[in-house]
């Protein structure tokens, strides 16, 4: 393979070539840099990247480690020491974290290069299309007039366009999986507590998880293994051993019990998506899996529960942006303290951020707390119980990742509620704390990728990898590349 195409390979393919001394880390970085220069004007997956950006491996001494100098692209809400981390918001303009998030620390220790490759996202991860970014939208590599999904749209588009080898995203209600589905790549939301959230700028603390966005399932297993584990700096991270996930890459699903929730295949689903996912289910059946319909009765209540819980937590987490410690401060002369807060927040937050802060403040406010927030927490219990019951008899659950393929840029920006419903299949994993993966399972007539979602019990990522790997090894979807 010519050196200039190295950026097209997966991380595990590159690592093998590095092991065999067929390539150097510098050659990979240079191929990637060239690719970014070529396609970035169209895709816009990265933020604040000027033409003269640096992409170097400054730590040649540590090349023996797992990643041997491979770069990992990072969503703009994960703190990178000394490198701007702005959540694609005006209110965090210019913010340079004085420390690394735990996942970044772990990646650096594993020999990964963390450069200025920060990816675009909806402001504070509020959105499903990456259109709510202060820096403007990212374009879907499969059709530049369409959104890449969101909120980790930059990470998914960068991987799909071969502008990244590996990327990290964050997932609060589908923000890794839905863009992975729209861009035809693999996105994993780990079990809540599997990966440290220390240094992830919080959106909804009881739902957020950091996870990998990669070109195939094996890379996903490699990257999760590198970032997972207990962290004393995050008291919600769980102290259970991290298995070698690459050992769960077994091409065999014989006897594995898969539940197919009937509530996910009703009205609202695009007929092409439905047909493609049903075909994927047939494939797994042929490969020996045991598939049966199941019921998750409270599915229709998941979206209202999610938008109450997530906005309530967000309104509290975003109280810290007040113009005192970092980021934007209103320059209005002669303002007092309270006025400074109010002007700063009015000027610094975008439209969707304001909408969510207000919603969250409302559902927590006196007189509405019980009717909305507390009620939502109770229904969250019912949703979790639905999954517990199904997992008593099944190893995993299969659904489409999103009800539609990628939609047009601007199509849903005037209708927030319609935008919220594009998360409808992904939010349950967050509400119930479950691990879930999205992998490509076909293309529509228009050439847009469709994602298959697999969910498993808490800490059963190995089951996800096994089923996903088997499906992937027996299909060709992950090898398709967009024409750019």
């Amino acid at each position: 393979m010519p050196k200039e195409s190295l950026n097209r390979l997966t991380a595990h393919e590159l690592l093998q070539r590095l092991d065999n001394k067929q390539v150097t880390s510098d050659e990979i970085l240079s191929a990637l840099k060239q690719r970014i220069k070529e396609v970035e004007p169209d895709v816009r997956a990265y933020v604040r990247l000027d033409k003269s950006f640096e992409l170097k491996n400054s730590r040649t001494q540590e090349l023996k480690c797992l990643f041997q100098g491979l770069p990992v692209s990072i969503k703009d809400n994960i703190c990178t020491d000394g490198l701007n981390t702005e959540c694609c918001s005006k209110i965090l303009g210019g913010f340079k974290p004085p420390y690394d998030a735990t996942v970044i620390k772990k990646l650096k220790e594993a020999g990964a290069v963390i450069a200025d490759l920060k990816t675009n996202m909806d402001e504070f991860a509020f959105g499903s299309s990456t259109e709510n970014s202060f820096f403007g939208p990212t374009h879907n590599p499969w059709d530049l007039e369409r959104v890449p999904g969101g909120s980790s749209g930059g990470s998914a588009a960068a991987v799909a366009a071969d502008e990244a080898i590996l990327a990290l995203g964050s997932d609060t209600g589908g923000s890794i999986r839905q863009p992975a589905s729209f861009c035809g790549v693999v996105g994993l939301k780990p079990t809540y507590g599997r990966v440290s959230r220390f240094g992830l700028i919080a959106f909804a603390s009881s739902l957020d998880q950091i996870g990998p966005i990669t070109k195939d399932v094996k890379d996903s297993a490699l990257l999760l293994g590198a970032i997972a584990g207990y962290d004393p700096n995050d008291s919600t991270s769980v102290d259970t051993p991290v298995p070698d996930y690459t050992r769960s890459l077994i091409n065999d699903v014989k006897g594995i019990k898969i539940g197919l929730p009937k509530e996910y295949f009703v009205e609202g689903i695009d007929p092409q998506v439905k047909a493609i996912v049903e075909e994927a289910v047939e494939k797994l059946k042929k490969l020996g899996a045991f598939v049966e319909p199941v019921s998750l009765r409270h599915t229709q209540y998941a979206a209202p529960v999610y938008y109450i819980v997530a906005t309530a937590e967000a309104s509290s987490n975003l109280a810290r942006f007040d113009g005192v410690q970092y980021g934007h401060r209103s320059a209005t002369p002669g303002q007092g303290m309270l006025q400074m807060y109010q002007n700063t927040r009015e000027e610094g937050f975008g439209e969707e951020a304001k909408r969510r802060i207000l919603l969250g403040t409302f559902v927590l406010s006196h007189g509405y707390y019980e009717a909305y927030y507390l009620r939502a927490l109770k229904v969250r219990t019912l949703i979790k119980q639905d999954f517990d019951a199904v997992f008593e008899g099944f190893d995993c659950i299969l659904t489409p990742t999103a009800p539609t393929p990628a939609f047009k840029i601007g199509e849903k920006t005037d209708n927030p509620l319609k935008m919220y419903l594009s998360d409808i299949y992904t939010i349950c994993a967050n509400l119930a704390g479950l691990p879930a993966i999205s992998l490509p399972c076909g293309f529509t007539k228009e050439g847009l990728p469709v994602g298959l979602q697999i969910l498993a019990k808490p800490f059963a990522e190995e089951m996800l990898f096994r089923v996903a790997y088997t499906y992937e090894q027996n299909t060709q979807w992950h090898k398709m590349k967009p024409k750019l």
């Binding site: 410690q325 309270l338 403040t361 939502a376 927490l377 019912l382 704390g433």
Partner: protein, 95 residues
């Protein structure tokens, strides 16, 4: 639940956001629609169901009370919009 301009204005004050009047009108309309959607939860009987605020069994995590290195002052202040010496500067609070 009916959401009007007054309601949104009050909530914005709680959230410390000074909304422009044009924004106020648009947001009132949108929030009305979204809260209407959330009202779907009222169909369910939730009597006797425990709320789940956190999905894992949570417990307090305690650590030893020992001295450790913390963020140096200049690093903690490096992102401040306004600073002086070892302090963040804010507008005058007490007249």
């Amino acid at each position: 639940m009916a959401i009007d301009k007054n309601n949104v204005e009050y909530t914005a004050r709680l959230a410390r956001i000074e909304l422009q009047s044009k924004e106020l009108e648009k947001l009132a309309k949108q929030l009305q629609e979204i809260v209407g959607f959330m009202d779907k939860l009222k169909e369910l009987d939730v009597e006797g169901i425990n709320p789940t605020s956190h999905i894992l069994p949570m417990h307090n995590v305690l650590r030893e009370d020992i001295q450790k290195v913390s963020l140096p002052v200049e690093k903690a202040l490096m992102n401040a919009p306004q600073k002086e010496g070892n302090f963040f500067v804010i507008p005058k609070v007490i007249e």
